[in-house]
Amino acid sequence: MLRYLFRRILSLGLSLLVASALIFSVVELVPGDPASFMLGTGAQPETVAALREQMGLDQPLPIRYASWLGTILQGDFGTSFTYKTPVAGMILDRIQVSLPLAIMALLLATAIAFPIGLYAASHRGRAGDVAVMGGTQLGIALPNFWFAMLLVLIFAVKLRWFPAGGFPGWSQPLAALKALLLPAIALALPQAAILARVLRSALIETQGQDYIRTARAKGLTERQTLHRHALRNALIPVLTILGMQFSFLLAGAIIIENVFYLPGLGRLIFQAITQRDLIVVQSAVLVLVAAVIAVTFIVDLAYAIIDPRLRKT
């Protein structure tokens, strides 16, 4: 197990390094010089040159990359070109919206998907299964931002139960949760549809196994077999999808954040790109990618805990 852990950590570090280099070089390709962008079109060339030097833009690419990485490892993400505030603080602020939103959506998706998946698997081939699976097909085809618009139309505009957008901040916890609920539902439904399908087919896959036959033979009811034996063994593919979905929800909320005017990480990246605030783009994308890589790592470890056979690979 220790060797497995060591190998995984090594590959984690390597992935992070390559990803950071990739992000750095892609963002460097963005047309337009941040120094001249900050100073406007009327700036003197000397002023621009001085600012470029002050920002370190006159250094060669590998040196800038190394110094960027060095400061980030010390927790210093630099200062935003447009807002003149520390980027680390901005990202931290935004994570307070994006992370709870992703967690809420994931919990909702799981809460919807598990009963549906279990029901469909235990009624396989019957009318209930066909109907529920047809419903999940519809859920997968739903663009989440369109679903979000419909939710706003019904629950915010017509019924006035929820705010149509904006975020009041966590100083008002109840209002904050209420503001996140519609976006979380919009994010969760398509994910729940995918999760329910995966759970159903994983459960059906386990049905053919010998230990299920043994469980039935020793007199357990269909329901007991499903809950005690099949479900636990079906968790591996479900966990894979959950891990992928969490990363997706963290990063993919970008459009939903735009629909609901939520100050999340995705919206920060989107705004920073339009403002040519490269340092914010670099840092925020890096944080997202690092989170995705870290989630993959945790999921890998969770496999090894659930299924000891996987530790050998």
Partner: protein, 266 residues
């Protein structure tokens, strides 16, 4: 599957027809007729500029389908050869390099990266295609490799090796034809995901640029007047849902048809 083929076919037909004929000109504004509900003249009503929504939806289908189709082409064109190479070098360093490269692309949140890509190279339908296409590459590479690996252990491959064929020739003549089914199924799945991705990108203004209608941008424009005229928002959204649903059903149906073992399992 028949329903899926019908829905997907309908979208294709609308897109194809829009090259030759649409009920109205999509760039023609008629402010006096703005935000009408469905009528005999305008079957799907009109938008805030009085443009005919049916016509816009038809041309939008063309945009969505073209973007998704070319993106799948990019993914297949690069991903499948990579997967074949990785499978033929299974376990060796080249395989390792290709697959780790794939993992790396997978780690990037596709939507954020596509937005970054569109911001770097400017928003256009072409850049949306490339951005979506790049993220199709690792998908096809993985599917190809996973499907090709078991085939490499079969007897007829050994026979081909004995006959003196090289790995490239074997990959093309013996491995590829045996995994085509799987690739077609994956293709329909990626196609439907591509349509969703295109809608998302053009919704945030990074897809096809005005005046070319696209489903995503129609939704973005409808957002501000969804209370006044809900049909402006509902119709393009329904088009996306029905097309994606059709493609998914078609993909499922094809998979069952091409692999009878799966059908028995369901």
């Amino acid at each position: 599957m028949i329903l899926g083929a019908a829905l997907a076919g309908l979208a294709l037909l609308a897109a194809a027809l829009s090259w030759f004929w649409t009920p109205f000109d999509v760039t023609q504004m008629a402010i006096a007729d703005k935000l009408q509900g469905p009528t005999v003249v305008h079957w799907f009503g009109t938008d805030h500029f009085g443009r005919d929504i049916l016509s816009m939806v038809m041309v939008g289908a063309r945009t969505s389908i073209a973007v998704a189709l070319v993106a799948v082409g990019i993914g297949m064109g690069i991903g499948v050869p990579l997967g074949l190479i990785a499978a033929s070098h299974r376990g060796r360093w080249l395989d390792e390099v290709i697959m780790r490269g794939n993992d790396l692309i997978f780690a990037f949140p596709s939507l954020v990266s596509a937005i970054l890509f569109a911001a770097v190279f400017g928003p256009s339908a072409l850049n949306a295609i490339i951005a979506i296409g790049i993220f199709n590459i690792p998908v096809f590479a993985r599917v190809t490799r996973a499907a090709a690996l078991p085939i490499w252990t079969l007897d007829y491959i050994r026979a081909a090796e004995v006959a003196g064929k090289g790995t490239t020739l074997i990959s093309l003549q013996h491995v590829l034809p045996n995994i085509t089914n799987l690739l077609i199924v994956q293709g329909t799945i990626q196609f439907s995901l591509g349509i969703l991705a295109e809608a998302g990108l053009s919704y945030v203004g990074l897809g096809a640029q005005p005046p070319t209608p696209s489903w995503g941008r129609m939704l973005a424009e409808a957002q501000t007047m969804v209370t006044l005229a809900p049909h402006v928002a509902i119709i393009p959204g329904l088009c996306i849902v029905l097309t994606v649903l059709g493609l998914n059903l078609l993909g499922d149906g094809l998979r069952d048809m091409l692999d009878p073992r799966l059908k028995a399992m369901r």
